[in-house]
Point group: C2
Chain length 388, copies 2
Amino acid sequence: MPEPASTLAAEPRQPKATEQLRAANLARVLELVRHRGPIARAALTEETGLNRSTIGAVLAQLSGEGWVSALDGTAEGPGRPSPVVHVTTDRVILAISPEIDSLECAVVGIGGDIRARRVIDAEPSLSPQGYLNAAHRVLDDLLADASELTPIGVGIAVPGLVDSDGVVRNAPHLGWREVSLASAAESVFGLPARAANDAACGALAERSWGAASSASDFVFVNGGSSGIGASMFSGGSRILGANGFAGEWGHAVINARGPAHEQTLEQLVSKRRMERLLGRHFVDRFETGELARPEVRAEVDAQLDVLALGLRSLVNVCNPERIVLGGYLSALELARPGWLAGAIRDSALHPVGAGVDVRTAQLGTNAITIGAAELIAERLPVLEGGHA
Amino acid sequence: MPEPASTLAAEPRQPKATEQLRAANLARVLELVRHRGPIARAALTEETGLNRSTIGAVLAQLSGEGWVSALDGTAEGPGRPSPVVHVTTDRVILAISPEIDSLECAVVGIGGDIRARRVIDAEPSLSPQGYLNAAHRVLDDLLADASELTPIGVGIAVPGLVDSDGVVRNAPHLGWREVSLASAAESVFGLPARAANDAACGALAERSWGAASSASDFVFVNGGSSGIGASMFSGGSRILGANGFAGEWGHAVINARGPAHEQTLEQLVSKRRMERLLGRHFVDRFETGELARPEVRAEVDAQLDVLALGLRSLVNVCNPERIVLGGYLSALELARPGWLAGAIRDSALHPVGAGVDVRTAQLGTNAITIGAAELIAERLPVLEGGHA
DNA sequence: GCGAGTATGTTGCTAACAGCAACTTATTAC
DNA sequence: GTAATAAGTTGCTGTTAGCAACATACTCGC
């Protein structure tokens, strides 16, 4: 006799098809509310193409679970005014950004607004667990003032290769290999945690609130203290690759027959080389006068030349509509504004390069922090189909 | 007075949400039937995770519209045997592949099987319209024998940049610019037509029936007579880029400070250089003995070295699980089997290169033809939501 | 050769979701 | 103060996929 069906009835339950439909609509609406700031309800129906009643149902669920709430309507024109919807401000995400000599901690709203931040020094050779413990102390402190805030998750931006399970497989500058950072953070904070590459985080932030908004096919290229990392978006979503490692563009060979230390892109376009020339620690821009020094100008131009060659290849391969330059690369672009765009248009294969728009990151050094928080915000529990 | 709602009722009609759901399921099932050849109905339910009754409804529609039909069940094990479903054989796609000196025409089944093919010479400077007219004659002839076959569309593989509307924006070897090839073909044949880059077509075919099947993140790199083209897949779908041009990897600069004719990948890894050395037209493999000639061996190894450097960069950027080499590159790989895979694993950033699998294309010279047909087959009218 | 076992397709039914149309509400314009 | 306009709400409908019971068709073992 087969086992009675009744005992199975209470089990897994998977009428998933319709749930996915609703989840997709929840995600679309929530994304609009988060990324476009406060937005009129009527605008939501227009943007999504969904019916007014559907928007009503979706918003009822989102506001019932406390993710969004409504202000009084701004009128502007005849007819009944549409209420303006915005994300709730009482839930926050903890963002952590470990670097070789520092640790940045921040409290970030679901809408990408940084509420509080603190950067502390980190002694070299601090262990991953040490970083997490330090971050825990700092964030507890930052949250102590504001008891009305509820942290809902932890996002970590790591300068290195992080797989889709939040395991740091290889972070050369930190000296980490095979570190289960996300699960360690879940233990320390008692909250869901995710980790990702720092450039990928920066790209997420620039897409949502910065220079890449409204672009569906773009490349974010970041010049950080640990080299050059990229993150590509195609059709509105990030190109992950088989393990989530896609984007390690700094190690692309661009000068194959040069000496061993002058072959890859990040060896030639190097903040460290520039710092040696300037004789100072480079933060985010050239100081007045520095660009007038001939040897600095020459190095800047040389690095721009190489960067243009590299970007030309990247454009040929990825066909982005926009390139967003972050960190050190942003400073290089600003040293000769617009030059890169022209060089790419002229050298990339016609008509791939024709429409490419080159911009500097809008969020500056905040991009990576905000993007780390976005790791959690883009996967809020509402969107998970409710089986939790 | 507002216009009465009743007049609007018969208009566009867009209850699209549920239609998209059904269309997605239709697409999944049809893709399984097309790509996995004849497949048991039970296997379809298991692969898709859909309910038996849903599969029943989907198959009823597909077979009602004449896209699939069922053989008698192959038993294999206890229980009621499951009918085997396969695509119908009476509908075919016309595939066209214009090259600088030749024109390939083929009749291809929906399941990717080549029914008939013919390659004719093309005089240089033949116009796009000339190519299409010639193809029309050849294909009419090929179809004359088989009156039971119904052509349903025309797919064209072009060595050049083709946008998503089927406009050839730039095909240097053919000398074409801004040619609305797909719409011209629709006029000539009276059938829906699509056009795409040849490497993109090859990748489609290798994914469906060749060396890239079962891989969701792979790169297909083709060495054709018009240089090196690539096509990247991420998460199971092709990376298109903003205009569908993504993949022009042959023009990547890899030797920045070399002479102008030795900078890009396809200048250094060049079939033409090899042909000059061999003193013959290179078709698809090295002849016995050729690789024993020292100067040939040296050139092969030199080109393999460069190719390894290039692939290393591509792996770092795209993080594929597999690389499929087609055309001339396939011959290079076979000249030193397995060497490229080792070189990439050793040189790519750990652990990006660790799991990369390097293979040669399975479909050989047929890949591009089959892929051209796949342009039509992947968008059969059943999938379009029925509003036509 | 015939029944037990088993896997499969089929049939009515249910739940969920989005879309629609009519109704209600809230503001602007005159 | 009334008409016009636009937006949220409500009840209903159509479609879809999932479920459970049933019917079917084969294999295996005696």
